[in-house]
């Protein structure tokens, strides 16, 4: 609390905070250490808490026998394109929802909100049939389209919060100076909102990068698999190769951690504003 702190209180507080920090980071530490061990050492006693025989063999194996590079590229392309398109589309809808009053506004907002309450995997079967009809099964474009739809609602709510923090006078002045509404949005508003938009893109990217059930359902050929689909293949096999598994996990987590560290302040802002994690 905000009153005076006793020495004992401080000690208790920092002990607790320290323990939680260790608990928070340990799983990440452990998977990294495992991935850097010599494959034989992973399954030996006593368990060592440090890679005694430091080795990159687990990583080399991933790119040699498992074709992990293809999965990484697929995930990167799908997440980047879907994340960017969803951000662009959401910028438009968020702008309208922040600046205009119109009759169907609350219905639209409600429709977006409901998608946040009802999970995207609820209709996996019908979605699969729809994508079959559109001939977009096992197709990266198809997965992108679905991901764009998944990202839009939360992204819109998040960006709307950011738009509301920017005074309307800004684009009104630009429009009086002769810019169109879209022109004012792009040339005047977007530069001001850049941090928020970058955060929204990162959030979309990470969500697509991490998405499992839709990609498992829609992608089946090896050349089109995304990383989570490939990892699902790894754990479905009878004997999990924890060496490659841990290396793959590290490579999957690393980009998202870097991106989150980069944008965490804005994401926190978006979370407390939108209050729904997509």
């Amino acid at each position: 609390m905000i009153g005076k702190e006793t020495t004992a209180g401080r000690a208790a507080k920092f002990t607790f905070l320290g323990l939680w920090l260790v608990f928070s980071l340990f799983p990440l530490y452990w998977i990294t250490v495992t991935s850097l061990k010599d494959p034989g050492d992973i399954f030996s006693f006593p368990i060592s808490y440090w890679p005694e025989n430091f080795s990159l063999e687990n990583y080399q194996g991933l790119f040699g026998k498992a074709d992990f590079g293809t999965y990484l590229v697929n995930s990167l392309v799908v997440s980047a394109v879907a994340g960017a398109v969803a951000t662009a589309i959401s910028t438009l809808s968020a702008y309208v929802l922040a600046r205009f009053e119109f009759r169907s506004k609350s219905a639209l907002l409600m429709a977006f909100l409901v998608t946040q309450m009802i999970p995207s995997f609820i209709a996996l079967g019908p979605l699969y049939l729809l994508m079959t009809d559109l001939q977009l099964v096992d197709n990266r474009l198809g997965l992108m389209l679905v991901y764009i739809a998944v990202c839009i609602p939360f992204c819109t709510v998040m960006l709307r919060g950011f738009f509301e923090n920017v005074p309307d006078a800004l684009e009104e002045a630009a429009m009086i100076d002769g810019l169109s509404r879209l022109g004012a949005l792009i040339k005047v508003l977007l530069p001001v909102m850049r941090p928020g938009i970058v955060a929204a893109f990162i959030f979309n990217f990470v969500n697509c990068w991490n998405e499992l059930f839709l990609s498992v359902t829609l992608m089946n050929s090896d050349e089109n698999k995304t990383v989570p689909t490939a990892l699902n293949g790894f754990i479905s096999s009878f004997n999990i190769d924890w060496g490659s598994m841990s290396a793959a996990a590290v490579l999957t987590i690393l980009p998202t951690m870097v991106l989150f560290a980069f944008a965490s302040r804005h994401i926190v802002q978006g979370l407390t504003a939108g209050a729904v994690k997509g």
């Binding site: 609390m1 905000i2 702190e5 507080k13 607790f16 939680w20 920090l21 608990f23 799983p27 452990w30 495992t34 992973i42 589309i89 438009l92 809808s93 309208v96 929802l97 600046r99 205009f100 009053e101 119109f102 009759r103 639209l108 907002l109 429709a111 909100l113 309450m117 009802i118 999970p119 995207s120 995997f121 609820i122 209709a123 079967g125 019908p126 979605l127 049939l129 679905v146 739809a149 998944v150 839009i152 609602p153 819109t156 309307d168 359902t217 989570p228 990892l231 754990i235 479905s236 924890w242 598994m245 996990a249 999957t252 951690m257 989150f260 965490s264 926190v268 979370l271 407390t272 994690k277």
Partner: protein
């Protein structure tokens, strides 16, 4: 079908009034110019909303609506020759499935067993993070990291740590003298449920900490000063000032998390895959398994049940949101800007 109705309803919504009352532009604009202006606004609304509405309608709402009729049909990918209407047969199959009882029990345990520790630990963290200290920013950034990882990968990380032979959890517990023999955590449904809960608590505490910290920072210091003058102790201050003040944020965060954890099959899917013997399934992991087996009818029936439960929760949640209208003192920064419906 909502696929076409949503965007067109945007077009018909032409008379869009400016938010803070339309200022009389140029004063003597006259009726014609004014109308021209408002229809143009209507077009802007429609054009800007259309892409988002089309995507969500086609890829989210259409499958959901199309799927709901499958719940009443014999719809199995393994045999598509007979897709006749079967009434409530799929629902009966769900309710009479031997796994149903276990699935329900697990779902309740999963939600309650995750939420309670997440709330308690998240609250404690928020209280302790409230006062500035050196490196507090770094600390917050570090404990935020679990949030970057997908639920599925978290399941995998903990699956490895809870490994019965080479798992680090057994090793640490043995070193601490808490167990004598290695425990086959994920081979027994009871210990497997404990393991998935530990993983989910690890993951979810940060969210509570962030939301509660934001709310705590909205409490004016004067309240605490007054309480201190009145000689209130720590516990009294906590229960008489802090908790009542952020009550609304607490309720909303908990409701939101209930919905979210209920919907969160990823972690269990990655960690146990619902095993051993389907005994760690929650409703959503079970539904995914049934979908993967191709029984879309039964999966859709289950999906409708999930949606029904979620709608009840969501209504409850939104009513609670609306209750704290303008100027309510309880809403913290985190709460005040919660979901705006």
């Amino acid at each position: 079908m909502s696929g076409t109705s949503t965007p067109t309803s945007g077009v018909t919504a032409a008379p869009s009034v400016r938010k803070e009352g339309a200022p009389p532009r140029g004063g003597t604009g006259g009726g014609r110019r004014r109308r021209d202006f408002t229809t143009r606004r209507g077009l802007v609304v429609a054009a800007f909303m259309a892409p988002a509405a089309v995507f969500v309608a086609l890829f989210t709402y259409y499958p959901m609506i199309a799927g709901s009729q499958m719940a009443f049909r014999n719809w199995n990918l393994t045999d598509l020759t007979d897709t006749s209407w079967v009434g409530f047969k799929n629902f009966r199959e769900v309710f009479t499935d031997p796994a149903w009882g276990t699935v329900l029990g697990n779902t309740a345990l999963w939600v309650v067993g995750s939420i309670v520790p997440q709330l308690v630990i998240g609250f404690a963290l928020a209280l302790w993070l409230r006062r500035r200290f050196r490196l507090r920013g770094l600390y917050q950034a570090l404990i935020f990291f679990p949030w970057a990882i997908s639920g599925f990968l978290i399941g995998i990380l903990f699956r490895w740590m809870f490994n019965s032979e080479f798992g680090v959890v057994n090793d640490l517990l043995q070193k601490a003298g808490l167990i004598d023999e290695p425990v086959a955590w994920l081979a027994d449904p009871d210990t497997a449920m404990i393991a998935v809960l530990v993983a989910n608590v690890w993951y979810g505490v940060t969210f509570f900490a962030i939301m509660i910290l934001a709310a705590l920072q909205s409490i004016p210091d004067e309240l605490y000063e007054a309480a201190a003058l009145d000689g209130a102790g720590k516990a009294r201050t906590l229960f008489r000032i802090t908790i009542p003040y952020i009550r609304v944020t607490l309720v909303l965060t908990v409701l939101l998390r209930v919905i979210w954890i209920f919907n969160f099959p990823d972690l269990i899917f990655g960690m146990t895959g619902g095993g051993p013997n389907d005994e760690t399934h929650i409703v959503t992991t079970w539904m995914i398994k049934i979908t993967q087996q191709g029984d879309y009818g039964k999966a859709s029936a289950l999906g409708l049940l999930v949606v029904a439960v979620l709608l009840v929760f969501a209504t409850f949640f939104l009513t609670a949101t609306r209750e704290r209208g303008g100027g309510r003192r309880g809403a913290g920064r985190g709460g005040k800007r919660g979901v705006r419906a």
